[in-house]
Every structure is written in structure tokens, then in C-alpha cells.
Symmetry: C2
Subunit: 124 residues, 2 copies
Amino acid sequence: MRSSRQRDAVLEVLRSSCDHPTADMIFERVRTEIPNISLGTVYRNLGQLKDEGFITVVESSDTKVHYEGNLTDHIHFLCKKCHNITDVWCKSPVPSQLAKMGLQVESQKTVYYGVCKNCRDNIN
Amino acid sequence: MRSSRQRDAVLEVLRSSCDHPTADMIFERVRTEIPNISLGTVYRNLGQLKDEGFITVVESSDTKVHYEGNLTDHIHFLCKKCHNITDVWCKSPVPSQLAKMGLQVESQKTVYYGVCKNCRDNIN
DNA sequence: GTATTTGCAAACGTTTTGCGGCTAC
DNA sequence: GTAGCCGCAAAACGTTTGCAAATAC
């Protein structure tokens, strides 16, 4: 993988994002720096960065794919009301049953669902 | 939600499936019983059944949406090689940190990634 | 010099939607 | 009777791809 201004910018946007942006959100953010970048290039780079293990894909409540640049161990809490994703920095233990079935876990993704504090407090 | 032959058939296919079929797989299976059902009807019913909480959506390795009719507590193991999803019937504990952050967990989805026993044994 | 990457635009495959007719209740 | 459902086909949507020009090394 050769270096390119566009790919570096896509990765930088993801690494400095607290939310979990979609391809078109990333496109808009990179555009402020590289105005003539195309959406196709963003998609191509997201695919390559994912294949090379620099970024991951996140489960969400809409149909679009959401991306994440922070690869340190954490889980997601998805609010059923506002659809916000909250990062929680903790490690959940792998059930012993998996090893017994011959399934060696390399990585994991956990999503918890509920209503976040904000949405519970503002009763609307 | 009114009762209909088409919706009952879609739900029945999902409840009696061991795999995690996509909309077009469900369409093909229902078609053996109701030959003139349309794909649009399958999609519409999947949406309604999901909204009413009778079925859920499953994370997968392709771009299509996979569905599941078995709502009892379990997690998924997704093989990186054959892309098969294995159900594992166990409950993983919710980290205490979530409650401390004011996040009340109503449900959860966990996916473990790795290579399944089959793919490890048949070295190919 | 050449293999990779780009912008552009057209193509793709999945899912949604608008319509007039049909069905459950 | 009427609100909700159907089949059909077209539209919409997010994403991928083909191409010739530009770029990295």
C-alpha cells in the first residue's frame, strides 16, 4: 500500500473522531481539507484501511456502514432513542463454552442496547 | 398488526431456520409454499416483524442483512474463513462499568471472530 | 518507468416505495 | 365498510467499478 494524501486524510479523520462516522460523513470532513476528493476515493480507501486492519466497522441502527479508527478494546452502547453510540472502555470475558466447542476467539464485538441517561432524563 | 398468510410464513421460515438467512433466502423458502409471494412483501414483513420485536438482525460478513427468529439468549461466532455463523447458547456478563455510567442494558449482541474448528482442521 | 491511486460518472445489488386491487375482521 | 395487506414494477439508496489522467517511488 503506497502512501497518499487522500488515504492519510481519511485515516486521520477517523482517528480524531469521537463519533462513528459513515462514508459520506468522512467524505464531508475530508473535503474541508481536500475539496476535490471524490466519494469513490473515500470508499476505496475505507476498504483498503479495513483490509489492512487500520480501522473497523461498527454495528449501528441505520443501514449505512459506520467506521471506527480507535482499535483499543472497548464495547458500544447503542441508545434506542437517540441512536447515539457510546464507547465504554472495558473488557468483557469470553465464555468458556467457546473453547470447549473448538472455537478460538481472535477478536470480538459487543453491542449493548438500552436508553441512555440523556434520553431518560429528558422525558420526551 | 393484522394476521396474514404471508407474514405467518415469513416468521415460520425464520423460526425453523438453523442458519441466519437473508431476505432473498427467506423469499425463496417462502415461495415453495406461496409461489406468487413478492420480494417486496417479504421485505415489508421483515421490517414489521423486526419493529414488533419478533425477529432480530444479525451482524454478518457480507453486505446483505441477515435475520434471526430465535430470540433466546445466545452469542454468535463468525468464522473469518468460511463466514459461517455458529450459535453458542450462553450468557456473557454485563460489565459493571455501564451501570456506573447510567447506561441501563436492555439487550445485547455479541459477536466473536476467529477461525472455526472445521476450517482449522481442513488446512486449505 | 511503472504500478498504484485518483476523480468522474456510470453501473450495481439490495432495499424501499407508490399504486390499484384484495383481504381480514 | 375500511384499515391494513398484497403483488407488481419503478425508484431510491449506499456502494462498487471502469476508465484515462495523475502520482508515488
